[in-house]
Amino acid sequence: DQQVKQNSPSLSVQEGRISILNCDYTNSMFDYFLWYKKYPAEGPTFLISISSIKDKNEDGRFTVFLNKSAKHLSLHIVPSQPGDSAVYFCAASAIDGNKLVFGAGTILRVKS
């Protein structure tokens, strides 16, 4: 039972354009959401997060949007750069837990 789903295994975007990565979740107890970025042979690194009391959080080129009614969040990267090419994982946690539940990841390729 996948509680966090990233339905697009890969995404290809031209440099300078917007990258939109999507994530859906099923557990209504989740109240904190994160995006991690992973390069080959390295561990995931934290990118940006959002609490369920917000619907948007922005950090430089990265913005995360949360739609609680749809149980959907998205990560926008604009403008996309070749160095953004990596695997992006969506993760979620519940207020009474410390375990992160991850999606399967989306491979982003930014073409120059």
């Binding site: 561990g43 946690s93 410390n98 992160l100 991850f102």
Partner: protein, 115 residues
């Protein structure tokens, strides 16, 4: 300072053998987590440790899996009588504490291949 380190980086073993994976967390981090990522899947929680509290072992897939942590330092994940379905990348993470919003810092992982 140094990040989370894991060893070995790669391990190939034969079905039925035992393996031990090691994690050195960031100094001062009281919480330590183990995850695994099987091919094409997301990271799957296995176990976490917080200080001297009893670990949360709810994610361990079978009794062949066990983990220990010495105080607030090194942790080892042991898989006994390995099976082919144990093949995965095993990732360790640490954070300042178990507080929900504390960022988890990940190590590079150990890629385990069971033949």
């Amino acid at each position: 300072g140094a990040g989370v380190s894991q060893s070995p980086s790669n391990k190939v073993t034969e079905k039925g053998k035992d393996v031990e994976l090691r994690c050195d967390p960031i100094s001062g981090h009281t919480a330590l987590y183990w995850y695994r990522q099987r091919l094409g899947q997301g990271l799957e929680f296995l176990i976490y440790f917080q200080g001297n509290s009893a670990p949360d072992k709810s994610g361990l897939p079978s009794d062949r899996f066990s983990a220990e942590r010495t105080g607030e330092s090194v942790s080892t994940l042991t898989i006994q009588r390995t099976q082919q379905e144990d093949s995965a990348v095993y990732l360790c993470a640490s954070s300042l504490s178990l507080a929900q919003h504390n960022e988890q810092f990940f190590g590079p992982g150990t890629r385990l291949t069971v033949l």
